[in-house]
Symmetry: C2
Subunit: 403 residues, 2 copies
């Protein structure tokens, strides 16, 4: 089940990036669950991580390793999040990095670890390191799609987006993969997403470009309002290609491609949200400021009542109105509030639009992609976020997750 | 389905309060859906209402009527919340009050209207007023239990609690009924709850007593985090009985009885929460202040991931840890965080307690009533709130609600 098409595009090889994916049997047998990215010497990287105070051990270690040296490899496992295991979890993450570093002949700190899966169990280090030689042997430039499969947990489909553009007569390719279907409410970070571009870009500029893209993509989605302990989004510039810098004429083209890849991957996460059958855009207009706009958008996007109504294709606008009402705005003038479902005017002057017909609302709800627009009439700020509905399958998936 | 026993106690007659319940056919046939409370002349009343900015028409009218004169009757319908209908909704509510006032021979402003049910549809005024003579004819002192049935919507059981105590040699009875199973996250108010005591109590003291009781009961429960547009809790002192005032020796006995009745009704709402199979007490200790304690409690109580894990009887403490981590505390020292499930120590020093055995956690999860205790190690503030799990039935009930 998914709400609409999940992009799984052809990911061409990138100069300077090799990817290897294997079945290590970390939690389940016969499942791709271990991915290695090897970056060319001279590559630069950028990254953003979860702001959950309980960040997982790999996030702690990845941050420390990034501070120590230039990353040359990403090591990703699914099946186990290595979160909540205390300092032992950090030791486990470091041991895995060291094992890969020996195989790649680099410093242990040049390996960044990422884990996703069950929280609160010790990482099976021996299982993981035993499979590393095979993963390294599998490294190849066209290994991206296998990796998109290899980082999945409760995702039903791999998520892969690629764009290319020309810099100084040379084609530059930007690839991205992402995973994440539940515990999705990124906070200045994402679920796991890995991107690379075959160009030479200085690390500070690369970090700025990534943060710009993330702010308008991964940070604007929510499935269930639960921010993960393991969120991470990494971008590598392999160095094997033309130089790019913020003052190049091609920089805006690169930023636009990066923004688009991130947005498509973020929306793919929502479309593949646990149990999702509807892809919902929540658009708030006329807010006093950005914080208020986001508060109202979140109140709608996190309301179990609205999400179940969408699952039932029920244009229950009263529940939307109630969520707006409890979003904590001071001095809200009800008579100015308007709500549209796609092109259908539903609420005008704080009450049901006299011209509204239930059949029109139901026609909108029959669609897979639906936009809720709320105009507050308080200012000029606008925000747009994406979420999905709450279905039987969400409960089933999350009730059965550890069984 | 309900999590544990829902109190439906015998409600003895109260001096000075008569209750009438009928089937008006407001939304469905053959269902008690219209309740009238008639208060003796000289009764005083207290009330608290929803803080949702989109409060329903009956809330607006009830507030205005309370400001205008002393209430003599409560008029409650289910099947239609009369919310989101704009100024027409207020006219509808006033017309119903006027119709009942004619039958009871009182001022229209002496009638307080309450509605619960579907949001966004016009109240069927003619259907309601046609049934009013029968409701008035049905008024009797022992009509309380019928009323407990008559105010139900998606509730599976009526909720009724009674306590009595002696004041100046005279037995005083306090009865309370409540409804509410979804859209439950009261904010300084409750779902619908109606209480009465056969004593003489000045209105200001009665209001203080009610606010004290509500703060620790209805305001400490959440089913789905959605604050209703129609929440209201009313308490009448019929005047037909001994005098009670804050400086009486019996006042603490009255306050304790009121606190207990409100707490039992509030907990009954959670136990009967839509689809609930588990009754969960969330206890936060060692917070810096009350706001922080409540933020952490809410992050846990509103987490769909934790609630589905409880539905599955899965002691998934990692999800609890993750919710604590995203609750917005500055400078949280992970190593001080402890989590217990009932008497079982699960998290110590921010990680899994080495002594924890999964079998112990599962033994706790097999219970219907479970307490999550989180010690933050940041201060001395404690808070306790109640919630329920998130089950298939929650989705089913809310997806099918308008069909």
């Amino acid at each position: 089940m998914a709400a609409g098409e999940i992009p799984c595009e052809n990911l061409p090889p990138l100069r300077g990036v090799r990817v290897g994916t294997v079945m290590a049997g970390i939690r389940k047998a016969n499942r791709r669950d271990l991915v290695v990215f090897a970056l060319a010497p001279g590559a630069t990287t950028a990254a953003v991580f979860t702001r959950n105070a309980f960040c997982a051990a790999p996030v702690i270690v990845a941050r420390a390793h990034r501070a120590a040296t230039t990353p040359q490899a990403w090591l990703i496992n699914t099946g186990n999040a290595n979160a909540g295991a205390g300092s032992a979890g950090e030791t486990d993450a470091r041991d895995c990095c060291a094992a890969l570093a020996r195989l790649l002949d680099c410093a242990p700190e040049a390996v960044l670890p990422f884990s996703t899966g069950v929280i609160g169990e010790r990482l099976p280090v021996a299982t993981l390191t035993t499979a590393l030689p095979a993963a390294v042997a599998a490294l190849r430039p066209d290994g991206w799609i296998d990796a998109a499969w290899g980082i999945m947990t409760t995702d039903t489909r791999p998520k892969a987006v690629s764009r290319s553009f020309v810099v100084a007569g040379q084609t530059v390719t930007l690839n991205g993969i992402a995973k994440g279907a539940g515990m999705i409410r990124p906070d200045m970070a994402t679920m796991l997403a890995f991107l690379a571009v075959d160009a030479r870009i200085a690390a500070p500029a690369l970090q700025s470009a990534l943060e710009h893209a993330v702010a308008q993509s991964f940070n604007c989605i929510t499935v269930d309002g639960d921010t993960s302990t393991n969120d991470a989004c990494c971008l590598a510039a392999s160095g094997d290609g033309p130089a790019l810098a913020p003052d190049c004429p091609e920089w805006p083209i690169f930023q636009a491609a990066l923004d688009e890849v991130c947005l498509k991957l973020a929306q793919a996460i929502v479309r593949d949200g646990e149990g999702a059958t509807k892809f919902i855009t929540v658009r708030i207009e006329g807010a006093r400021d950005a914080l208020e706009a986001r508060q109202v958008a979140d109140a709608i996007a996190h309301s179990p009542l609205i999400k179940t109504a969408f699952f039932a294709s029920d244009p229950n606008w009263g529940r939307i109105l109630a969520a707006v009402g409890r979003a904590g705005m001071a001095d809200l003038v009800l008579e100015r509030v308007e709500i549209d479902l796609d092109e259908v005017s539903v609420v005008r002057q704080g009450g049901l639009d006299p011209a509204y017909r239930e059949a029109d609302g139901q026609a909108v709800m029959a669609r897979t992609d639906i936009t809720i627009t709320v105009r507050l009439g308080r200012g000029t700020e606008t925000v747009r976020i994406w979420t999905c509905d709450l279905s039987h399958d969400y409960v089933r998936i999350n009730a059965e997750y550890r069984t």
